[in-house]
């Protein structure tokens, strides 16, 4: 599994669910695979993707996905505390862990002795999964999206390199935000 195959699996497993992609290559890869209105590309504010997704899930009450990285999770583990405290939060927190700060040149993250899943569990996440293969990840995604309404953490251990990195997010960021906002509001009215 590499970052692109993991993001492809997330996009295949979802339809209308809001998805927040963390800064760095995740946004760029997602935009290149399928630029859908349920995507929010967080191009700055490293560490806050989970906080944003938590805010979305809190209001919508529906499943919300965050695609985080190991570097961004390590930058802001406080986000786990808030999400984990909300036992009925429909948050699916996916961490794509390549052990690297990929978009700044591939420096190693200082997580060699950190158990990210144990951190999530300690913060109150109801279910914590660890996957290293594409098939296992796809199965976990469809199961979680179909059945869970509590914070779930999927730690994806990436081992394969990504090839060429797609271009930067080019949309006007205000317009991008309004597209996401409009999508959430139009799908919320059909609920409840």
């Amino acid at each position: 599994m590499n970052k692109a195959s993991a993001i492809r699996a997330i996009i295949s497993a979802t339809t209308n669910e809001p998805i927040v992609f963390t800064t760095g290559y995740s946004c760029r890869i997602a935009q290149a695979i399928a630029d859908r209105p349920n995507h929010f590309y967080m191009t700055g504010s490293m560490g806050l993707a989970t906080s944003i997704a938590t805010g979305v899930a809190l209001v919508t009450g529906g499943p919300t996905v965050v695609v985080d990285g190991d570097g961004s999770l390590l930058m802001n583990p406080a986000a786990l505390v808030t999400a984990g405290a909300m036992s009925n939060l429909g948050l699916l927190h996916v961490v794509l862990d390549d052990g690297l700060y990929a978009s700044t040149g591939g420096q190693s993250t200082p997580s060699g002795r950190t158990d990210l899943g144990a951190l999530a569990r300690a913060c109150g996440y109801d279910q914590v999964l660890r996957v290293a293969e594409d098939d296992a990840f796809a199965a976990a995604l469809s199961d979680v999206l179909a059945h869970r309404t509590t914070p779930v953490f999927i730690h994806c251990v990436l081992s394969a390199h990504d090839s060429a990195v797609p271009p930067r997010v080019s949309a006007h960021l205000g317009e991008h935000q309004r597209r996401f906002r409009h999508h959430i509001q139009s799908t919320m009215t059909t609920k409840v």
């Binding site: 979305v56 899930a57 808030t82 935000q177």
Partner: protein
């Protein structure tokens, strides 16, 4: 709602006025200057306490994109913590939210550790392009209207600044 009521009990009247104007959900990290107001909001409208102010800004951004008019309450020391969240998320993505920020380090608060941020609070926000109003007990009504127009009407962030004694703090 009359100004006299605001003067009598600014914390309960400000929280009520915000709710009546459609603001919420409320996120925050506690501050001594804000305490009576913070507790009033928590009791009357519910409040999500967040362990770091920039996380509260991130959650408010999510709530705003889900169609709400969120409020984030913080001490101005947390504004330092939140600067990148404002500069690289809220401002460039044009996300509406109301910040309610205490002015620690402003007279009569002479605590040394707060003086620098006391001096920087308005310039930092204004430098980000976020308009500010310093709350006054005799003008709260109009100031909430101002915030409602910016956040709800123009879909912009705005900040209401809380001077030390507004909610009863004493040096």
């Amino acid at each position: 709602m009359t100004s006299q009521l605001f003067l009598d009990n600014p914390s309960s009247c400000l929280s009520l006025s915000l709710a009546e104007n459609g603001f919420g959900p409320f996120f925050g990290t506690p501050c001594g200057f804000l305490a009576p107001f913070y507790e009033r909001v928590e009791r009357d409208f519910g409040l999500c306490t967040v362990p770091r102010e920039d996380n509260a800004v991130g959650m408010a951004a999510g709530a705003a994109m889900a169609g709400q008019l969120p409020v984030v309450m913080m001490q101005n020391s947390g504004l330092g913590q939140s600067l990148n969240a404002l500069a690289s998320l809220v401002v460039p993505y044009e996300i509406p939210m109301l910040l309610i920020i205490s002015l620690r380090g402003v007279l009569p608060d002479r605590t040394s550790e707060n003086l620098v941020m006391g001096r920087l609070t308005e310039p930092l926000l204004n430098g980000c392009g976020i308009p500010t109003e310093q709350l006054r007990a005799d003008a709260l009504d109009a100031q909430v209207d101002w915030a409602r127009d910016l956040v709800g009407g123009q879909h912009r962030p705005a900040a209401l600044l809380v001077p030390p004694t507004l909610f009863g703090w004493r040096a």
